[in-house]
Symmetry: C2
């Protein structure tokens, strides 16, 4: 749940929102400052502005709710925007009460978007979000900085904010980042940012409040192996490869040092090893996280030392009030240099310069307006990604898709707490939507369909037998919600919910179950022969009910795959959330985390059925084990000119071709998945690792399409105990699909080679 | 939090609420049935109605949402009403959207009411609640059955529903029951019930959802000592002594047997040992708790066996849908007799007969109408109990009461999340109120007062120094809320909240802190010399802000005492909620529970300051140790004719007289408290036990009043390991006040005597 304080803060903040006016570079005082001179390099423009500030002004410009400098005509500016799956409410985003600017397209949560395994669609969605965000900015209703996406990998099924992420697998997360962030920022190698995205939360942040452990004071103990191979993977993508504009440091400490004063993570890794040093690359704190270094981490002896530590570590924005309260006296105490403050301000104003904030309104993005928000096309994308993200988990006797004859009425008896879900389908960090279509609403529009519901106190058996429906459709989510500031304690269904479902199914009437919301253990539903089908939809967004009905009726054919492991109920008793370890540990009893290290899932990562059958075969087939020399692979890479050797193609499988044949009777998409497995490198060995995927579209019955999956040298690498990324000799296996449909084996020979040497903490 | 399912249920239920029509005994079919013949004994009238039911009808009348019997003119009836601290929303209570019948008087939560230690006021409040409830019934907007009060003692500070109770001490709880239940039911030795109250939850229920342990399936392991001396104490008061009409069995199991099928608790103790066998004495399940015996406790092999077990154990109402779903097939399977079902129905309809449900509308209560709801007098009581329940915990240099001169404006800078609290002050199980007055609102009406607030992102120092207020008033509650279905994990203040308070206090401006909501550790606030005063208000109800302001300004003088222990922060790490043990246990590390067994409190039970000083001295003083013979005490009791020897007066202290002198300068109430302490009986010995209290009113400066505190033989008794209540020889000490102001010592001689033999579970 959002804490009462957070709610109170947001309530207060909403009073404090000012229109995000643009500076007047034409006739205001700034017109005489070089910051308004578009002919100059961005850094030089920003430097001119910073040079105009007095020390006192500088000391008050490093928090999210910037007062600007009225003397100079620099307006107030709120750095805090949110747009996780559509422009959302935030202190820096001002929705109207009604009418124009009162809503935006509200896409499914990233966990459902990720299930589609459709990179191009993620890019298209990011483009819609940044278009709408830019339109809000043009109307002075938002800034140009949006603190999205949340890309901490979904390590533990209890995490309250896991729904905000693309799931547990770092490869999926990295692909998501590359498409979403690039689209949000307006493309690659930009002259100007469309908006600035912020990768959060740096780093090893994935616990809210669990059994008395609070994110504000939590110290995540992480080994170099786990840090490099898992927790840092999204950030190397963001910072080094996708070149995100901004990064947020997290609440927690990492191995004893709070994230927002962590020199190793910020200087050594982020700005050093990954060279995240563009002039505009700024770091914001999470909201109150600088204060938390004093109140919760007790990391410094005074409040002044606390704000100085964050500034000296390179944190440029305090989302909170500690900087404006304590920075001046910290300066008086000599705890930081003015030059350090200047560096932060230079980053911040370069970011605004590079977003066109000080430019005349002539760029194409400046013409975006209300007519570009929540358009029919963008809402169609919201429907499409929801359809593509719905996973079919069980379908006995092909009960789905439903067949509704035009000869007679077909009766569906709906049961469960989410049959009329609207806002619930959006999940957290959602903005207001033009419309929200629940499953119940969507079914009203189907011809020849009668929809019945019942009161909870009515006996399911009496009601079901009286109505004699053709189908029982149960739609529910686990009772224990996942929310910011709160983790879950169980991953089991509420037993009374399942009891109601089981009683309904006892009638013998065909029964379909839909699992929305968080993951919880579906084992009993899967095992129950009276329940014919099970569908997972997560948080399918503003048109989620329509998407679900389209899938149930066969107007859309399901092809999504689970973007996370579904654990059995007792998993949560085996490992505390505070154990950050990924690999099984006999001493602690940790059974391992994610599909790579845990082997007893109720539903495996990557699982998903179709309304048809597919065969997937590597093409051409290989009956012999190929052998490749590591040194040769590296040297062929040298010729590509790529800076980072792990990004070089693994030429023998660039691409891996998989021939996908639809052997059933329904046209359907198909997601080709390729994993690497094998006993190479030091034990313990992961079960397998996803290295490539491709969604094929509209494979017709009896036809085939070829998936082309590109592997890199990094696809084959593992991480050693020091965190180094290493290419090991040994026997490798490429596995296609879940469960495995085809395998291709090969061997690497020669000596092991470090692809990326992980800087060690001193 | 209320679970999503609960919310969904309540939402659905609200659609299902029918007007609670009265039966037509004049011209309807029932006019020919003896149930409408007021000249007959109630049981005979109820029997006539039950005799008219068919078996099929009987099988459908034992759940809360009774369909009635249309054939007989018996209306639908919802047994589920709520009125914990005023008539509240419930499936059986129908508030109007606006206008008449859209609200009722909303008193403080019982935890705040208990702090007043004012029995007569509790009775007066109960009388208002039942008057308003009866008015709702007269308008066909509620039934005559209200499932209140919640009287499980507040064992653990984490309990989500502790606010609903009068605190941790069984003596206080018992006094509360005797006054509240008697007033709700309309008096003692009734011809007719005003309404029927329900003591809940029977028994050992005081955990919602804690770290994965759910109330629905929790098995409370309780020793006979703890059961008899603590968990059962409220129920012996309810059932045996106050003669409540109805009792609710709880979700949990007790020592392996679910409460709603627990023959030992229901038959042996409740109906046997306590003789709770009036014709109308019925038991309801908690909502879904019969279903939970199957789904969560797995106590029975089939759903039919489950409903039969509850019925056979003597549970008469299923709040849920299991009875109407499964009772018929359970009967077919021969799992219970029709006579058993008849017994339940006879209890239920006798209860309605004895509430006047089948009588002509001639009783005085039948004339109660909307004009009797939320009257100025009843709202004045809501204000008075809130004023009386506010505890003063710190008052350095007598900063309180505030002095506001008429010569100039006085400026208060308000800070904290609850400065404008309205619904929050009501707490859970509250109904809509005519008005809600927050502290901020109440301060608006004070002459010569300027009230300022600030935005959270503003620096407290900058703002406070700019405004130069006369006072900083901080009002907040702990962030981790206590709610039904959720327990807390911490009892510490959110560190950022306290940080904000401490920063404000650093300004040197006089600072007053008000602690609302749940208990959490105030040690840092008490120890901070910059914070001059601390006030606890709990959940002070609809006019709580006005009551607080009246106390701060001295229009009401605080005299309340803490009705529960305030534990230090680390307490929650020492004992899990699932450890039901009350006494310290070296093996488990349990440090003991409640002031009786725990000796390291931040604030002791019974503590509270005044705006004046009081001396309390036992009168006449005794300098020698008196000696009393146990056998003589017992035999003198025999002459009183009392059935239960522990209720006999302890004649030497009937009453204990305490002379209370106001030695200060302000007229004030004073709560005289008497505890028994000593090393008598087997170890371990409780620190002390509250045995009597009396609130004295309006003690003027320089004057004195005499408190008269009646002790019983039960006041001196303890419970042995078997649960027997025993009077032991030994040295006793009567302690007056917290901290102790005076002591009276005496000795009991002779052999130990069992006052009440606890029936053992076979």
């Amino acid at each position: 749940m959002a804490s009462p304080t957070l709610i109170a803060l947001v309530a207060l903040l909403s009073l404090g929102v000012h229109a995000q006016d643009h500076p007047d570079c034409e006739s205001g005082p700034l017109s005489n400052n070089s910051v308004c001179d578009t002919s100059l390099p961005p850094r030089q423009r920003a430097q001119a502005l910073v040079d105009a500030f007095t020390l006192q002004e500088k000391l008050n410009l490093t928090h999210n709710n910037s007062p600007g400098v009225p003397r100079l005509g620099l307006p107030t500016y709120n750095w805090w925007g949110e747009a996780l799956h559509g422009v959302a409410a935030a202190p820096g985003v001002d929705f109207a009460e009604d009418g124009e600017w009162s809503y935006a397209t509200s896409f499914p949560q990233p966990i459902t978007m990720a299930a589609a395994f459709d990179d191009d669609l993620i890019y298209a969605i990011g483009d819609v979000i940044s278009t709408e965000a830019r339109a809000f900015n043009n109307a002075n209703r938002s800034g140009l900085d949006y603190w999205t996406p949340n890309i901490n990998p979904f390590r533990d099924p209890r995490w309250g904010r896991g729904q905000e992420t693309p799931g547990e697998d770092t490869y999926v997360v990295k692909r998501y980042i590359d498409n979403m962030v690039t689209a949000l920022q307006g493309g690659r190698n930009l002259e100007q940012y469309k908006i600035i995205a912020t990768c959060k939360h740096y780093t090893a942040y994935d616990m809210e409040f669990w059994q008395g452990n609070t994110r504000y004071g939590y110290d995540a103990k992480v080994s170099p192996h786990d840090m490099s191979s898992y927790y840092m993977q999204p950030f190397v993508q963001c910072a080094r490869d996708t070149k995100v504009g901004s990064i947020m440091c997290s609440y927690n400490a990492i191995n004893g040092v709070p994230a927002c004063a962590n020199g190793y993570n910020i200087e050594t890794i982020l700005r050093g090893h990954w060279n995240w040093t563009a002039d505009e690359n700024y770091i914001t704190s999470d909201c109150t996280s600088i204060q938390n270094m004093y109140t919760d981490h007790h990391a410094f002896d005074s409040r002044q030392q606390t704000v100085a530590a964050a500034l000296n570590a390179g944190v440029d924005v305090d989302c909170g009030y500690y900087n404006p309260t304590w920075l001046a006296s910290a300066y008086s105490q000599g705890l930081f240099d003015e030059a350090t403050l200047d560096t932060s301000l230079l980053r911040l104003y370069t970011a605004l310069v590079k977003s066109g904030y000080f430019d005349p309104p002539t760029s194409p993005w400046r013409s975006l307006a209300w007519s570009n928000v929540s358009t029919p096309d963008s809402e169609a994308l919201a429907l499409k990604i929801a359809e593509e993200g719905i996973v079919l988990l069980k379908n006995d006797n092909d009960i789905l898709p439903l067949t509704i004859s035009s000869d007679r009425n077909y009766t569906i008896l709906m049961a469960g707490g989410w049959i009329n879900a609207t806002e619930q389908m959006q999940g957290i960090y959602a903005g207001p939507a033009r419309t929200l279509v629940s499953p119940w609403m969507a079914l009203q529009n189907v011809s020849n369909l009668v929809v019945e519901t019942f009161q909870w106190y009515e006996s399911p058996l009496l009601v079901a037998e009286r109505l004699q429906p053709d189908l029982i459709l149960w739609i529910d989510a686990t009772n224990e919600g996942a929310e910011e500031t709160e983790d879950r304690n169980t991953i089991k269904w509420d037993l009374m919910q399942v009891d109601a479902l089981e009683m309904l199914a006892l009638t013998g009437i065909p029964t379909v179950a839909v699992h929305m919301g968080e993951q919880c253990d579906d084992a009993a539903i899967l095992a129950n022969d009276n329940i014919s089908a099970l569908v997972w939809a997560g948080y399918p967004g503003m048109l989620g009910g329509q998407a679900l009905v389209n899938v149930l009726l066969g107007d859309a054919a399901p092809a999504a795959r689970m973007p996370l492991t579904q654990y059995p109920t007792d998993y949560v008793h085996l490992v505390p959330m505070t154990d950050m370890g990924l690999r099984p540990n006999n001493e602690t009893g940790n059974p391992g985390r994610t599909y790579k290290w845990y082997d007893n899932a109720t539903i495996d990562f990557g699982y998903g059925l179709h309304y048809t059958n597919f065969s997937a075969a590597i093409s051409p087939p290989s009956n012999t084990t190929s052998t490749f020399d590591i040194a040769s692979l590296i040297s062929s890479c040298d010729q590509t000119g790529l800076t980072h050797v792990e990004l070089c193609p693994f030429l023998p499988l660039s691409p891996l071709q998989v021939n996908v044949s639809n052997t059933g009777a329904v046209t359907s998409d198909y997601v080709a998945l390729a994993f690497i497995a094998g006993e190479f490198g030091p034990a313990p060995h992961p079960r397998k690792s996803l290295v490539a995927y491709q969604r094929l579209f509209g494979v017709a019955p009896g036809s085939a399409q070829m998936a082309k999956l590109n592997l890199t040298l990094g696809s084959l690498a593992r991480h050693d105990e020091m965190g180094n990324q290493v290419l090991y000799p040994g026997r490798y296996r490429v596995e296609v699909d879940v469960p495995v449909q085809d395998v291709w084996e090969f061997e690497l020979t020669g000596g092991e080679v470090v692809l990326d040497e992980w800087p060690q903490e001193q």
